[in-house]
Subunit: 234 residues, 2 copies
C-alpha cells in the first residue's frame, strides 16, 4: 500500500497533519506494508525565496486581518500543534519553497525524505529558523543525514529536481487537489486536510479492504503472455 | 487515466500486445486523457547481452522442442503479428535486455520512450537486427530521436538507470505480474497478456466508470487545509 502526501514546508496544517497521519498509521494493523512518499506542492507557486519575511506581516498584508484576529488564528493553530506535541512559534518566517522542494527530492533519492521534511517543519515552525537561507537549509539537511556539499550543489543549480517538483504539482492538479495536505492511498482514496488520526486509520482500513489490483483479463485463450519459462502461444 | 505497461523487448506477445492495446485505446472515447508509461521487465533477469544468439537455437535448447514444433510455434506467433500488420522474422536474435531497458529509461526522460520501444520491436522482430550490439542500439535510438552520444554514455555506464529498471521490476512483482505484457490502469485494474483490442477498450471503460479518486474525508470541520488563498483554521 502506498500513501502519497502532497504538502508544503510552510503549511501549518501539513505539519500538524503529518503527525496526525503518523498516529493514524501506527494504529493501522497493516502499517508495515505501507510506503509513504512525500510530494511537492507550493502554496505560493513560483514565489522566490525571500529572507526575513515574517508570517505575521504576510498574513496581515495578504488577508487584511488585524492583530487581534491574527493572534486568535495563531492561538488556534498553535493549540492544534501543541495537542500533537509540536511547537509553533508565531515569529516564524515565510518564504517561497520551490528550492526546499528540490532539496526534498534529492533527499528522496537518498532515502532521507521523511527525515528532512520533519527537520524542515521543526526548524520552521518550532524554532522559527530562517529556512529561506542557504546556510540554514544546508545545516538542516546535513542534520537529517544529507551531504552538505550535495545540498549546496542542488541549491546553486535552479534546474536540479525542478522537473520533479513540477511533475508532483501537475499530478496534484490532475488528482483534484486544491490545497494541502492532500493524502492519496494507492491512487484510489483521498483524504484532504490534516484530519484527526482516526480518519487516517479508517481510510487505510478502507483501502486495505478494497484490495489490490482487480484483474480485468487474465492471460489465457485470447491473450498470451511470456514468462521466464516460456511464451505461451494460443 | 494512466496505463503502465510492463514488457520486454524480446517478448513477442509484448510486441503484438502493444499494437492490440493501441487499437483498443483508439476505440476508447476517453483516449485523449490517457497517459501511457512503459516499464521494464526482463524475461531472463540479469542475463548479459550476448551477440549472435539465435532465438530458434535458444528455444530448442531451453524447451527441448524439435524443428517441427518450433516452426509451428513461430507460425502461430507470426500469424498473430501479421494480423496486426507487424513483421516477425524467425531468424531473429535473443539477448539479455537489461541495457536496453536502461536506454528506454533515458528515452522516457526525453519524452521518446514510446518511439524507442516501437523502434526496438521493429528492429528485433521485423528486421532481425542484432539488438545486443552497441552500434545497433545507438543507431536505433538515434533514429527514434535520441542523442547518439548520450546513448553511448548510458550503455558504457552499467549503473545508469539501473536502479530505475530494478524499481520497475520490483513493482511488477509487488503487483503480482509473473509474465508480460502486463497492463495496469490507474494502479487499480490489470490486464495480463496481449489480449484482443476490445479487451483493452473494455478495461479502459471499466476504469473510467470506476471514476478517479474516492474522497474518504474532505477538508472540513475536523481537517484543515491550506490553499494559496488561506489556511483554514477550524
Amino acid at each position: 500500500m502506498r500513501v502519497e502526501i502532497w504538502s508544503d514546508v510552510v503549511c501549518p496544517w501539513c505539519y500538524i497533519g503529518k503527525a496526525r497521519f503518523e498516529k493514524g498509521l501506527a494504529a493501522f494493523a497493516g502499517r508495515d506494508g505501507v510506503e509513504v512518499v512525500h510530494r511537492s506542492f507550493e502554496l505560493a507557486a513560483g514565489a522566490p525565496r525571500e529572507a526575513g519575511k515574517s508570517v505575521a506581516e504576510e498574513l496581515k498584508a495578504k488577508y487584511g486581518v488585524d492583530d487581534a484576529q491574527l493572534r486568535a488564528m495563531e492561538e488556534r493553530v498553535g493549540a492544534a500543534a501543541a495537542a500533537e506535541g509540536l511547537g509553533m512559534r508565531h515569529d516564524r518566517f515565510s518564504t517561497g519553497t520551490f528550492d526546499l522542494h528540490r532539496v526534498l527530492h534529492l533527499a528522496r533519492e537518498r532515502g532521507l525524505q521523511d527525515r528532512l521534511l520533519d527537520a524542515l517543519y521543526e526548524a520552521n515552525f518550532a524554532q522559527a529558523r530562517p529556512i529561506s537561507e542557504d546556510d540554514t537549509i544546508v545545516d538542516i539537511a546535513a542534520g537529517a543525514g544529507l551531504d552538505a556539499d550535495e545540498v549546496r550543489t542542488v541549491l546553486a543549480d535552479d534546474t536540479a529536481y525542478a522537473d520533479a517538483v513540477r511533475a508532483d504539482e501537475k499530478e496534484a492538479a490532475e488528482l483534484g487537489a486544491t490545497g494541502v495536505p492532500f493524502f492519496v492511498i494507492d491512487r484510489r482514496f483521498a483524504v484532504s486536510g490534516g484530519q484527526p488520526a482516526q480518519v487516517f486509520t479508517q481510510a487505510l482500513e478502507q483501502a486495505a479492504a478494497a484490495g489490490g489490483l482487480q484483474t480485468v483479463a487474465a492471460a489465457g485463450d485470447d491473450g498470451a503472455v511470456c514468462t521466464d519459462d516460456a511464451c505461451d502461444v494460443p
